[in-house]
Every structure is written in structure tokens, then in C-alpha cells.
Amino acid sequence: MSAVIPVSHLQTLRMNIYRFNPSIDDKPYMQDIDIEVPTDKDIMVLDALHLAKVKDPSLSYRSSCREGVCGSDGMNINGKNGLACIMPLSEAIKRNKLTLRPMPGLPVIRDLIVDMKTFFDQLEKVQPYLITKSKNPEKERVQSPQERESLDGLYECILCGCCSTACPSFWWNPDKFLGPAALLQSWRFIADSRDEATEERLDDLEDSFSLYRCHGVMNCVSVCPKGLNPTEAISNIRNKLISRKGS
């Protein structure tokens, strides 16, 4: 476990954590938990949470891969969404403080755990899978390295939700505006040379709310832990819709 640290070089860190347990608490509150962190090496926010959980086993958060690839532990770290497992304390701590809250805009289930249902419902609306109509060849569908390259920056999404829960348009209309993550996935399939449903996909996006609520604030880009660019994907979809009308 990452909680194993030699005792010699330690200092106290005060964590300030959002707490809410629906079976006990009427309303959420912020709790201070002091933990001992090493001074001679950086640890991640997730490691700090493990240390806090040793002190208070009722503290709840999601985690799985602990290396930034599974998308479990998106949370709001000192005011900015990110993944706890790849956010070093040295980068996270501001003015000697570490405040952790659940990602904003979604219902809180418990402590740092949010209900991602709306997020996944929106994702499913864009039909996030390859649609082909032609018969599958015996071997692979041929795709040139250049065609494949247009999927870079799209297929790597880990569905952590950091972007959509940082997007003001998603906060106000989470059931109507698809949000950056779903739109990035939509573009991932439109951009795939093997997909054969581009027109249908674009038809579905004509509705003004699903796409046009994006005002280009770029919050999504600035928080994405994988360095992806949903804003660009959204403008690519728009351009495609416009050029389709033009022709």
C-alpha cells in the first residue's frame, strides 16, 4: 500500500475534505484531517487520501488504477477538477492547504463520490460505438496511418468527467447539453474513417441544445487530465454541420 512511508522525514498536512454521508448527515460539511506526509519525496493526492482514510475509515472516494488511466478519481482539488492519483501534492497544495470537494454539478452520493448517471446518459446519446453498414472484411478494415492519426487526442478519453463537470453550460443544462466529454466521443466516431454513419450522427446533433450551448469557455480543455481538447472537437463538428448545409 502507498501508505508505507519511512518515519524519519515527515511533516503535517492539513486536508480539508467535503463530507456527506446520506444515512447520517442532514447536510454536507467540511472536515479537517491532519496527515503526516514525507518531506523528501512527492506523493499524490490519492496517496494523501489513503493516509486520511487510515485516520477516518468512513472517508469515501473512488479509485482503481492509481495511474491516471481508469478515470475513477476525478475530484475538485483546490478549486480545479483533476485526477487525485496523478496530481502530486507539490502541484496541488496552494498556500499550505489542500481542499478536496466532489466534482461540481452532479449529485453527491457520499463524500467525494458523485452520481455520474447524467454524464453517462449523455454519452450514450451520441452512439459511442463504431457503426458500419458494409460487410465486415475477412481481415481488418484498412485504415492508413494518416486516417488513424485523426483519432489521436480523441480515443484516449478515460470518461473521468472532469471536463463536463467543469463546464458551466453542462451545469445549467445537464439533461439537454451533451457536454464536452460526449461531444468529444461523438467526434471520435465521426472522425473515424471506418465509421459509416456520419450523416445520421450529424442529423442527431442539429438540435440546437445538444451542441450549441458550448460558448467556448475552454474550462474543459484546461482541466482534462489527458490533455485532450473537447472545444476543438466541438468546433470540428460545427464546421462539418455548416459545410454540409452549404453544399
Binding site: S23, S64, V69, V142, Q143, E147
Partner: protein
């Protein structure tokens, strides 16, 4: 009914399915896809949202003779490498099936949309991996691992999830399976599980249950495995009186990042990287003159451990080695290994295009598991005879079919997942078409599966999970690591023995019902403990060195005594032997010979 009450079988609500799949990783999702497309009433239960499963972490690729790189490549060569890699205790019929069916399974993934990297001609890109050869070891290094950059597992898992969405699979996401229900005939008739968010608990009744719960790398202190890899399926099987096979066989991956445990793929060496010691020497040239850094994993891991033991390790404590990639140039490093670049920067503070990555052999993969046949049906051994357990299947890392034997080759696990996930799905589909009755379980049978939960919910004192987990992990790390010997193992087994009471009666302080991760960690800890004890006892019984199991006190392979699978039951804590299958259907069996690389 909530998970924090003391529960009686007769009060427990029931859900009914034709088939349930416990696990939403690569193996589970391949099986579920087969079933969803057949229109049966099935569901996937996963303790995490499926794309958070450990398969997402797989980097390097999926090995298969699809002939992109070499039009003459042959699945029989892949089979030869896999048999040799297994140190001859992989079942040859299963390996034959995997290697020959593999291309179909890989092209299926491509058709579902998996964004493989591409060759100039637009075919699936392949890279060389360790232990790969052409022409039955005589034709030099092969290039056989199909890759999507170094994010193959991510691409594979997301693609399978997408295909399942398209097929309309029913998901019970963030549900935790506690124990299986077996009836008086020993047939499996479902599982006890609860929804983590609400704490609502059910008896999920089904005609077929698939264990696809993945590995258990968290029994060791240092591992490449996700935090959730707690061997729940192994724990469930052992508690149900079923055996595990070859559970002493744990793969230590040569290149875990020093200090963090996170993996950097063998694909790094496939792309031309190599290991150096403190003198800058490419030491693998000494240990494996032909294949060097691409020798089989067990060979490389042992060589590294020896370098460190003999004082040629790097760093102030001389406790690691360096993986050198900078000579490949930023173009190759950033294009072919973008994920590795990210991980190295985050967890080692180095850009591999400029500096070497500090690495050390790290627990990675469980070769053993629940024994199955080619259809994924779970097998037990009764009076020396294989017997099929009705209603139960297993696939993926939790299973031992056995294609990996004593040592898995890189890229063969992802292939194992899709080939045998699919074959389990197909078998269940056929069985359902024939029409089978749902078997009954008595309240007693169900109460048995609730025992563990009820004990935890009634606990008022005892040891806490983190303390027990740390003790167990260090014990495993120190006494059952890369090199093993009797005196240390006996000590280690005794320690585990002394812990059992504490693990069974640990204290759950937080008894709340909604998204209580403390309860889950406690249940997982009990599973980890079962895997640890099974590993420890079996490792001590196998008195030879084979594959990943290297003993100082028995340094040689003993084909006379141990060209066998080990079989372990936790009830008696006894280890017996089971024959290796040396009867492939279409080729001659490969005979054991000395393994050199």
C-alpha cells in the same frame, strides 16, 4: 434489504437471470457481448464502472499471428513460443485453441472499432515482444504483438464496452459480489451481491455464472496491479470448496517503475530499449546472448534480481536498474510510447526521450487460477478425476485454462481474455438453447453465502483492514518473491496461519450502508488473504524451479516429479498434482526441453 443488516436468507430479495457475468474487464465484456447478441436475459456485475477495470491499464498489446508484419507468420510458431514460455506446464490443447482462434478474435475487435496503430499499408501494427520467435525458435525474433500505441488495454476495454452498449447488454455497475450460492448437488446457482451506492442486497439467481473477476496482484506490497485487484473470484471459489491451479506461479514484470510500482510495457524493449546496470552495461547480453532484453519475462526478472543482489544496481541504495530509451529518439518514444512518457514523467520524474527510467521487477500477473476446460467450464478434481462444476464458468486472469503455465508471454493475456471470454459465451448460449432448468437452492445454501457478511456486520472489536493488509503484503513480498526457499516460506506460512483468525474476525468500524468503501475493502481483504495462503502453501510444495517459480534450494526443473499442475483446496490446505494436457488436436505435442533464450 440493506447490506448493513444481519441478513436471513428467507428475507433476501431475489433477482433472476439466465446468465450473470461477474466482472466487466476484457474477459467479462467479451463473454457478455456474446450473450447479449444471443438475446438471453443476462447481466454484467462489476464493482467498478466497466471501463475502470484493470484491463484498461494494459499497454503493450495483444499477441497474435495475424501476419501484418510477416506474411509467413504462423499460429503454430506462436503456439511453440507459448508452450516453451510456460515452461511446459501450459495445456497444449488450450494453447493450440488460443493461438489458432486468435486471429478471428483480433479481427473481430478491429471490426468493433478498436483503434489499432497501423502499418504503411493500413494493416494492424505489430511490435516485437519477449519470448517471440519465428519457425519454432529457429528463425530469430518475431514481431507479433498487435498494438494501439501503448494504450492497447484501454482501447480494447473501451471498444468492448462500446460494443456491449450497442448490443444492449444489461449492466449492474458498481455492484459487489460477495459469495456464490451452491446447492446441495454442488451446482452453482447464483451469487449474493449488493448495489454499492444504495447498499441494497440481493440473491442473484442464475442458470450460469461466469467468474471474470481478474487478478490479485495486491497480495504483494509492490505490484503493477490496480488497487481493486483483490482476487475476489479466487476467494469465492476457495470458500465454495473449489480448487485453484498453479497458484504459486506469479509473474514479476521486469520493468515496474521503482518506488511507484506502475508498469512500463515490455513494448519499450520491443521498440529497441534495453536495460543497463550501474556501470552502464547492457547486462542481458550476458544472461541471454541471443534474445537479450527480449528473453522471456521470468528470465529477465531473475537476471535483474541477480544484478541487484550482486551490487550492480543503480541509485544510492543500488536497488534498481535503468531502462534506456533515449537512443531511440523523441520521435519513436513520443509516437509509439506516449503513455509511457506520461507515466515516467509523473511517477519517476524523467522524460524517457532524455533520461533512463528507474525500474525493478514488480509483481504483475497471476498465472494460476480456477481450472477450466476450453469452454470456460470450471473443473474440480475428485479422487484424481476432473469433474465439471455445473453452472459455473471462469475466464480471464481469474481462470487457469491453462495457456500460461509457469510463465505468461507478454501480450498473451489480452488474447486469453477475448478468446476464452468468447468461448464461454458461446457455450452458455448453446446450453440455454437446449433449455436448462434453473436449479433450486435452499435457505441453508443461501445462508452459507451470507455468513461472511453477517460476521463482518456483527463485529464489535478486532484488527482493522489497513494493518492486516500491510502485514500480509510484506510477508508475501519478503518470503514469496522472485527467489524462494523453504526456510523463509515456512516462516511465511506460519505468519499467515497466525493471521487467519484476525482476518476472519476483523473489525468493521463504519457500518453504514451507502457507498461504504470500508466494507468493500474488508471483504476484499479476506479474498486477498485466501489468495496469499494458497500461493504460500503451494509454492512451498512445488519442490523444483520452473517458469516464474524459482527456488534457491531446488534450482532445477524436475520433469519427473513436477511436469504437473498443482491443485490446492483451502478446506484441507492440501496440494495435489494434475496432469498437463499434451494432446493438441492438429499438431504434434511439443516435448519439454531445456529453455534457453
Amino acid at each position: 434489504m440493506k447490506v448493513n443488516e444481519v441478513i436471513n436468507a428467507k428475507d433476501l430479495p431475489v433477482m433472476d437471470f439466465d446468465g450473470i457475468i461477474i466482472g466487466g474487464g476484457g474477459a467479462g465484456l467479451r463473454a457478455s457481448l456474446q450473450l447479449a447478441e444471443s438475446g438471453l436475459n443476462t447481466a454484467v456485475i462489476s464493482k467498478v464502472f466497466p471501463t475502470r477495470s484493470h484491463t484498461v491499464s494494459a499497454q503493450g498489446g495483444i499477441t497474435c499471428a495475424i501476419q501484418s508484419d510477416d506474411p509467413d507468420d504462423d499460429w503454430r510458431w506462436h503456439m511453440f513460443d507459448t508452450v516453451k514460455g510456460s515452461d511446459y506446464i501450459g495445456d497444449q490443447e488450450a494453447i493450440e485453441y488460443m493461438c489458432s482462434e486468435g486471429p478471428k478474435a483480433v479481427f473481430e475487435l478491429e471490426h468493433m472499432g478498436l483503434p489499432f496503430s497501423r502499418t504503411k499499408e493500413g494493416k494492424i501494427y505489430q511490435r516485437p515482444f519477449g519470448g517471440q520467435s519465428k519457425d519454432y525458435g529457429k528463425g530469430g525474433q518475431a514481431t507479433r504483438t498487435c498494438a494501439a500505441a501503448d494504450r492497447t488495454g484501454h482501447s480494447l476495454l473501451h471498444t468492448l464496452y462500446q460494443a456491449n452498449l450497442k448490443a444492449g447488454t444489461k449492466f449492474l455497475n458498481e455492484w459487489f459480489a460477495i459469495d456464490m450460492v451452491l446447492n446441495e448437488d454442488g451446482a452453482v446457482v447464483g451469487v449474493i451481491a449488493f448495489e454499492i451506492e444504495s447498499g441494497e442486497i440481493f440473491y442473484i439467481r442464475s442458470k450460469a455464472t461466469v467468474l471474470a473477476t481478474g487478478g490479485a496482484g495486491r497480495i504483494y506490497a509492490s505490484t503493477t496491479n490496480a488497487l481493486i485487484n483483490s482476487g475476489d473470484g479466487i476467494g469465492m471459489a476457495l470458500r465454495a470448496g473449489l480448487p485453484v491451479q498453479d497458484i504459486e506461479m506469479w509473474q514479476f514484470h521486469p520493468t515496474g517503475i521503482h518506488g511507484a510500482g506502475t508498469l512500463v510495457t515490455e513494448g519499450c524493449r520491443g521498440e529497441g530499449g534495453y536495460l543497463i546496470n550501474k556501470d552502464g552495461e547492457r547486462f542481458m547480453e550476458r544472461y541471454a546472448p541471443n534474445t537479450k532484453d527480449l528473453a522471456s519475462r521470468d528470465v529477465v526478472a531473475r537476471s535483474m534480481a541477480l544484478e541487484i543482489l550482486e551490487g550492480r544496481g543503480c541509485g544510492p541504495k543500488a536497488d534498481h536498474l535503468f531502462l534506456k530509451l533515449d537512443h531511440l529518439g523523441p520521435e519513436v518514444v513520443h509516437k509509439r510510447l506516449p503513455g509511457i512518457t506520461e507515466l515516467s514523467k509523473t511517477f519517476a520524474g524523467v522524460d524517457p526521450a532524455v533520461q533512463p527510467i528507474p525500474v525493478v521487477p514488480t509483481c504483475h500477473y497471476m498465472m494460476g487460477g480456477v481450472p477450466t476446460n476450453l469452454n470456460g467450464q470450471v473443473i474440480t478434481v475428485k479422487e484424481g478425476q476432473d469433474t465439471i462444476i455445473e453452472g459455473l464458468y471462469a475466464a480471464g486472469e481469474v481462470a487457469c485454462v491453462s495457456v500460461h503455465g509457469g510463465n505468461r508471454l507478454g501480450g498473451n493475456s489480452l488474447l486469453d481474455l477475448v478468446v476464452f471470454g468468447r468461448s464461454a459465451g458461446i457455450h452458455i448460449e448453446e446450453l440455454m438453447k437446449q433449455g436448462i432448468e434453473l436449479k433450486k437452492a435452499s435457505f441453508d445454501d443461501i445462508d452459507k453465502a451470507l455468513e461472511r457478511l453477517n460476521r463482518l456486520n456483527s463485529s464489535t472489536k478486532g484488527e482493522q483492514v489497513p494493518v492486516l493488509k500491510q502485514r500480509m503484503q510484506h510477508n508475501m513480498q519478503n518470503n514469496f518473491g522472485v527467489f524462494r526457499r523453504e526456510d523463509l516460506m515456512v516462516k511465511g506460512i506460519e505468519k499467515l496461519n497466525n493471521m487467519r483468525g484476525e482476518v476472519e474476525n476483523m473489525f468493521l468500524q463504519d457500518k453504514s450502508s451507502a457507498f461504504n468503501t470500508a466494507r468493500i475493502e474488508a471483504l476484499e481483504m479476506q479474498n486477498l488473504f485466501e489468495v496469499s495462503e494458497a500461493t504460500a502453501i503451494t509454492a512451498n510444495e512445488r519442490k523444483e524451479s520452473r517458469g516464474a517459480h524459482a527456488r534457491d534450494d531446488y534450482p532445477d526443473r524436475d520433469d519427473e516429479g513436477w511436469l504437473k499442475h498443482s491443485i490446492y483446496f483451502s478446506g484441507t490446505k492440501e496440494v495435489s498434482k494434475r496432469d498437463v494436457n499434451n494432446r493438441p488436436k492438429t499438431v504434434q505435442a511439443f516435448q519439454p526441453s531445456v529453455r534457453t533464450y
